[in-house]
């Protein structure tokens, strides 16, 4: 079972190491981790995707809460949230027919071409993990040169916020 956890942390140096070390030491597996600033200065938000049953999730949540610089931990259930991931994909375009087929695929997925030369195109796409996986699989036969993904970020739907401060 996969879970997406939102973690609000104080923007201190070392907080990432603290969270990562906790996962390593307790044997929890991180599938992806995305960190960035929030609407509040000096508070960052981590979106962590982890694998485990309910009991593992409960331990992860409790152990994260014990870290002094962790302000709030919330399990973002997939049924009631929006999630997005961004990917950059560099693809081979050695032949002209390949190039036009790639452009069509990009259009279908409502992705963008953000860099191009005679050998490659670089595609930018956002969406759910499934959509990005599907695009990558369609592009694979052309020859993937490089793929980079941000890892998932997620937010609850409606007026609920993770900080619980403003509704």
């Amino acid at each position: 079972m996969r879970h997406t956890i939102a973690v609000l942390v104080k923007d201190h140096p070392g907080i990432l190491a603290r969270v990562a070390s906790l996962f390593t030491r307790r044997g929890f597996n991180i599938e992806s981790l995305a960190v960035g600033h929030t609407e509040e200065t000096d508070i960052s938000r981590m979106t962590i995707v982890v694998k485990g049953d309910e009991r593992v999730l409960e331990q992860i949540t409790k152990q994260l809460n014990k870290l002094i610089d962790v302000i709030r931990v919330k399990d973002i259930s997939p049924n009631n949230s929006v999630e997005r991931e961004l990917a950059l994909i560099k693809v081979n375009t050695n032949s002209l027919p390949a190039r036009s087929e790639i452009i069509q695929t990009v259009d279908i997925f409502r992705a963008n071409i953000i860099d191009v030369n005679s050998q490659i195109v670089t595609i930018e796409t956002t969406g759910t993990e499934d959509k990005i996986n599907a695009l990558i699989e369609l592009l694979r036969p052309f020859g993937l040169k490089e793929v980079v993904r941000t890892g998932k970020i997620a937010m609850s739907r409606g007026s609920v916020t993770t900080s619980g401060l403003k509704i």
Binding site: R18, R55, N65, K66, L67, I68, D69
Partner: protein, 556 residues
Amino acid sequence: MRLTGAQIVVECLKKEDVKVIFGIPGGVIMPLYDVLYSETSIKHILTRHEQGAAHAADGYARATGKVGVCMATSGPGATNLVTGLANAHLDSIPLVAFTGQVPTNLIGTDAFQEVDICGITLPITKNNYVVRDVKDLARIVQEAFYIARTGRPGPVLIDFPKDIQLAQTEFKYPESVSLNGYKPTFSGNVKQIKAAAQEIKSAKKPVIYAGGGVISSNASSELRDLALKTNIPVTTTLMGLGSFPETHSLSLGMLGMHGTPCANYAISDADLIIALGVRFDDRITGKLDEFALKAKIIHIDIDPAEVGKNILVDIPIIGDIKNILEKLNKYVLKKKETEWLNTIEDFKRRYPLKYIHNEELKPQYVMETISKIAKDNTIIVTSVGQHQMWAAQYYQYSEPRTFISSGGLGTMGYGFPAALGAKLGCPEKTVICISGDGSFQMNQQEIATAMNNNLAIKVIIMNNGYLGMVRQWQELFYDKRYAETTLNGNPDFVKLVEAYGGTGIRVNKKQELCPALEKALSLDKFVLIDCLIPREENVFPMVAPGSPISKMMGVE
């Protein structure tokens, strides 16, 4: 008032009412020591190794309930504190450690005596800090003490670069601590407390399982009230020894791997376990799948992460044990399960702790004798190994903070420096350190600290010339192949102490023990008694690792 960073730390220490610091100076912590040099209200105890300083601060904290403070320089000084911090972390002991650090412009350059001590101690401290701006210093020190002693206590480390010690700023001690990521739950949920009272009412075979949390929350008298009102028998963990008087008929003694048969049978038979400040450690539960199968479990603890970690709990109550027990004691009704108490009495009668009494100087006899001779309120401090278990089994503890031992980490060498810390914290009490010959040699350099500060503690060495507990396991589980457990080359401990100007007594025979103990206790100075015990005496009962706790070796 403009002060240097070093002066600010000392002012903060005074605000936190710190009386004693244990440590060793070195290169980059000299500015701080320079301020301490002229400070009269704080006593600095120079140990001979930083590990000794950390354990002494830990022993001080356990004996007094206050925050222990230790100090070391950067690099090797800081790394030498690590074992002591891990030890305090696993046993939830409040410590604040200061380490010197190379100047901020050199951090990250592999400068002389530079290590990333915050990185190293990340998983073994409750929190740690590198001070990068002198303006943050007072707040950080205040937070460190607050975090160390509140909630589930633990060690906090402050890494203190040399240039920050010298930098100046306006000193103002913040009025209060504000940490929005740290708000430990104090009062328990009343609904849960009422549910617990209901379970206690209907239980036919209840047992209280009390641990170190009862001692750290100073809840011994509330525990006593609960047990006496409901006539529920009490077993304690190693860390919980002293939280309930072992002289009382409701006491079952210690449970677990080397626990009493009656405690292990009672837990295995119980229909309700009231777990107070414990963590269902593997040394307690034995085979987890077979632990207390018939029992509902009420778990009261300040740390939510401990509840449901190893075992599923029926009624969790998060908060301070003292606070919760005060409320619970109002809701529980008087009761007495006579049949259950008769069963317990039967266990006790049929399966007492026992050893073969003969002319030899048995370690169990040594502990029984100390238990008889020692005054009330004597503090027993142990290291780790067989002697620790004999000290737990054969000495009767009746007050909290009178048994001090390394539980979670199992640190050999802990006892002696911790005893020095305990004596400094409680100079009016008798402090007896029980150690093995192996454990003692891991920190014996601190004899100098004891002598230098006239610390009149008594050290009893249970000398069997082995790493005894490992040897016992080799005997039982490794076909008596005693790989590297024979301590050839041990010193003459009596002469060793004499070399430092102390008093040593050797006890070879049973009849020499009493006079030696009486002499040692009558002298107001450091005395070491070297007890030559039978070399291959074993600790029983024993639950083999991975077995259920109802299956004990050494019990027929």
